[in-house]
Subunit: 225 residues, 2 copies
Amino acid sequence: MKYTEAYVPPTLTVDAVLFQLVQNRLEVILIERPNDPFKGSWALPGGYNAVGEITLHALQRIVSEKAGIDLAKDLSYVEQLYTFDTVARDPRGHAVSVTYLGCGREIKPVFAEAKTQSFPVAHLPQLAYDHHEIINYAHQRLIAKLMYTNAIYAFLPGKFSLSELQAAYEAILGHELDKRNFRKKFLSLGLIHETEEMKREGAHRPARLYKFNSTKLEVLSRSFD
Amino acid sequence: MKYTEAYVPPTLTVDAVLFQLVQNRLEVILIERPNDPFKGSWALPGGYNAVGEITLHALQRIVSEKAGIDLAKDLSYVEQLYTFDTVARDPRGHAVSVTYLGCGREIKPVFAEAKTQSFPVAHLPQLAYDHHEIINYAHQRLIAKLMYTNAIYAFLPGKFSLSELQAAYEAILGHELDKRNFRKKFLSLGLIHETEEMKREGAHRPARLYKFNSTKLEVLSRSFD
DNA sequence: GCAAAAGTGTTTGGGATACACCCATGC
DNA sequence: GCATGGGTGTATCCCAAACACTTTTGC
């Protein structure tokens, strides 16, 4: 590696695609851009990554500052997604963005520099930059990941009924599943165990609550669906 | 996004993990580092990505310059792998590396700035930087990808026998497969078709040659193995 | 004829799919 | 007693896994 002329790197940025389930709809966290470019448009929470800072740390800092979200506490799962690098993606100049995919539940921005809101993935507003493409890419990755890992845990509370579990899958995959087959299959995977608790709400039979054995990402022995 | 102080980005680099099969062994292309740091060590082909250049283009340029390999011609498949960003990975200073995974066959460096050689993945020399980690990550990704896509095509010649196909899988997966089950299953996937040609070599029955229907990445209907 | 790789079928078990009714509760 | 969601079992089909011998060639 040699310097034949002065080396100038592109700007490095990070962006987060933070998914959650709200009333059995898959939603993504967006912020309203306070400045140009794309002032007033919605965008993924993201920002600059300076030398000396790893991308995940930059992301934590930025998501906390801009959207009031604590990645470590509010997100149950975070992974690097992809690095978007086209020259024209930022009108101010070449910015390479390392993007992350996060999953959580009941993500609530508590303090925020920017107006932060959760939007259904099926009905997104106009988005700044190439953020629509990034969200699509993240959604595809998420669907794939649900098929061969236990990642669904990241969307559920500590204790949950099998109906809630099934509804979570249906919301993200975008199609319905057979109740009996779903339960048989999922229980046979050995990822969850019964608790003594029941959930009672409304005029119907109470539901048994379950817990995940592990809340770390695990690859399934047999893939799902 | 605001500049409260002068923003200085990290160095941006690209690195390529280029796999090929040599005599049914999975090998990876390495170059000998001509300069410090890690002078004399083996490393992945890689280098600096300046502002205005997309990472894939930087990779093409660098791999061509340093190893004499033409990504477009000599590689049958290339995808972005992961972005490695730890601060200490380059002793000269913080360098974020966007890495790529490539697959080809009979990759021969024709002209090279650096000494280039192909090493069996099972027996790598000491490597510079975090390149051992990068190769491991790429190998895992490759194994996973073979299971649910037709990516194996990238390692094979245009026409090949079923035994060659099976041997390619065995080399990369690292374990043996049952011949009858393998043929039955693979033919049922509908990815390949017979040609009229036979391959005769040595004192044994000639082998029917097959071709892939498509030499673009496709996701399998049922996953493999 | 013999060495060496190519090619070929059947059986068995387990998981995927399809499908409909009873249970426990609140009002 | 009725509306609401929770919970359960069986039959069928297809695929995965296990397993050994015949065919074609060069020498």
